[in-house]
Symmetry: D2
């Protein structure tokens, strides 16, 4: 499969995974390994920076994975900017996933603050991958301020709903081609990940769908295969839908 390229860097896997919500470090390590992911997000907040106690970094080998610090738990642009800088200072990375939560019960992103943080950090030399909503106006603004990728939600964080906004994401994919588009958040199971890839998205970022499964390691394996299956199906060019096999025209406006 042709590799994913973000900001000039090549990744063999189109699945990006998080490291939150696992039972323990061993499960985290096993699940990530089973997923086949190469890029792994770590919350700057959760990295034990002085290494005095056990830390995520004891379980994830930085020589095997590309670590992407994220700003999970930040509620303003300033907090997110600070977290990104801290991640770079302690040697984690000059790449960062910007995530600014705007609404507590729903964990919906604050896309205005996300643009602001992205703008500042790009100027400071960061490679910024912002998590955002499916708002095409703000997606274009993120690109304007230098985002290396745009990562819209399929549904709110932690919901497992899948792709709740198919037509909006389809529109986004059709109109945005300058940078990679990654579906980040909301997916719940393997077919959701396959569908995202079939819609032409460049990658998928998952956390709860794996960590929240009854058997996270097996789900991680499933997700790895689903992302490959979806990408290959996209590249293979699916058959057209017809209302019945001998119908004279493909279906118009019917998805099931």
């Amino acid at each position: 499969m042709e590799p994913l390229v973000i900001a000039g860097r090549t990744f063999t896997s189109r699945l990006i995974v998080g490291t939150g919500k696992y039972k323990d470090g061993a499960e985290t390590r096993s699940a990530i390994e089973a997923s086949g992911a190469e890029m792994v997000t770590v919350a700057v907040r959760r990295v034990n920076l002085d290494r005095s106690t056990e830390s995520l970094l004891d379980f994830i080998d930085p020589s095997k994975y590309f670590m992407l610090p994220n700003t999970a738990g930040c509620y303003t642009a300033e907090e997110a900017i600070r977290a990104a800088r801290l991640g770079r200072e302690v040697g984690l990375s000059d790449w960062v996933k910007i995530e600014v939560i705007g609404d507590l019960p729903t964990l919906y992103p604050d896309i205005q603050a996300t643009v602001e943080a992205t703008r500042v950090l790009v100027k400071e030399g960061f490679t910024v991958l912002p998590y955002t909503s499916d708002d095409i106006v703000f997606a274009k603004r993120l690109i304007d301020v230098g985002a290396a990728a745009v990562m819209p939600l399929g549904a709110p964080i932690g919901t497992g709903i899948g792709i709740a906004n198919i037509s909006t994401l389809r529109m986004m994919r059709e109109l945005i081609t300058e940078v990679p588009l990654v579906v980040d958040a909301g997916l719940g199971t393997a077919s959701d990940a396959a569908l995202a890839m079939e819609m032409g998205f460049d990658a998928v970022l998952l956390n709860t769908a794996i960590a929240g499964a009854k058997d996270p390691v097996l789900m991680a394996k499933a997700m790895g295969k689903a992302v490959e299956a979806g990408r290959e199906a996209f590249l293979a060019g699916r058959m057209p839908k017809k209302l019945y096999a001998t119908a004279s025209s493909p279906m118009d406006g019917i998805s099931r």
Copy 2:
């Protein structure tokens, strides 16, 4: 992955593929190989029984694949019964996929004739895998007359719609546990196959979705992975859906 067992026979792959509609024999062979399928359906009608000219069997190695003759092109129970017997006589198999078309434009099955053909052939010692609609009454009748599996459609043959009848198939899966249930027909792309497996179906049978893709070999590979992904996701036990992450209860009656 735990194997699929039908009528006491064990299969390593849960993907069953057809052999119709390919450009030529070489493409057929490559696609089947890429799919990883072990069971392959062949239309008795299309097998060149006297071997005077090139035949499917020149391209599919019977030592590598389990050949399942099917009665494609039959419009009555009698025709289907005759085709099954012919397949056995020429040494193809004493297994048969019964397919009786009841309606020409839609290729919808005649489920009454399907039950009748199944009844007769089971008595003659065949292992019968009938293709049927999503009608639960007739699914139970097929089991009553000795079907070794029940294979309901996800959508009419050749449509690529996907699973058009999610709640009906879910009901069927919940209530039928005596024999394997295989989603046969209507799927269009990898995520459809993954979804079928996630719903707990035991296997998926595909033809047009692979042969009708722009690149059938790549789609075959995608389908192989999607079926594994879907099965593993089913076994892994997916996370519950919630309207938002901090909602107090899982979603009731909302699928997106």
Copy 3:
């Protein structure tokens, strides 16, 4: 609105309602009146034929409504035939809605028995409106044996799922034009009824969706309006769907 015509008889309303599951006779009467329906189904089983005790007919004025006896509670063609004859003998009607249940937990119809009962009763001079599945082969058989209308389910009886099989019903509507098509069973709320009418169905038959609402009389009123709204929207010819307003072509294969 142009009237509904079944077997040469004209009906002003395209909503047909059942009379089961209400709290009491008064609620039944109020709900039916609020719905605006002209045709009302009554289970032959539930009509108190000797009039010794309170009966449905004490609450529904036969001079205001067209009573359609149904064979609810029958599990074989013979039972359904007997019920139809009984209904005619006691003077209810020579019209009958045939309903033969084939599966107890799901209440799915036995479509083979339904065809058989229809065949017999049509020969005896009945005007038969069979309740059936969404199987197009059997729908055509019902027409062949003289059904005056075909009434496929949107989803199994009493589920309130809505139209679970949109593409199948759409296919049915496109291919069957000889008799009226009525969506019978499975609908849960007003928008379901409107959608059925927008798909071009000639009428909608409801019972649980009204009787099972918290306020049945208000829901009946809603259903009456929804059926009119859906019919008018169908006749008005809806705007095409587009992925975005300035997109160059209508959406292909996307329903949301």
Copy 4:
């Protein structure tokens, strides 16, 4: 039906209609009358302010309708603010529907500019009804700056897709109760309007769905009934969905 109240003013109809895209003034007038709407939006840009030529106001009787000026065609907060002021100066209204387009091909709103315009205009004494996306963070900001209602899209303007974002709008409805919520834009037919009301939205605002139908006047009538049907169904309390009638629990996570 209990009335809709916005900013202390009572409206008898929960359908709000636009006045764009009609063939001519006569059709506009007929459609609006058929819809039963009381509130009607007019683009300040399109009102012929000096009355030198034929104008919308020649066709819509201000004594019968509540005119809501809108800022259609504005691309910045400043333009929208200017349009609102102009509308008030010429005596149209001190109410205004704020609409700021952020993206030309998709007509997606610029929600940041919308908040800004709302903030300024509320301070100037306007009653502001902003058209916005389904972003819950910005919906809350609109309320914080004094919006009298929040009007999220069901899908982008002019698409007729229907409610593309059911779970997001459901979440919004569950969490926002301070002001009326109106589904504005994207609806295509009567069942879409009914569904919006059944989800508990306070009103529906439509334009293209009516003006773009083959018969706009009949579609207007359908929409009027659909909104009433949906509201009544919401108030009536629909039956629960079940996978099959005798299932022991309502459906979890299944919408069809």
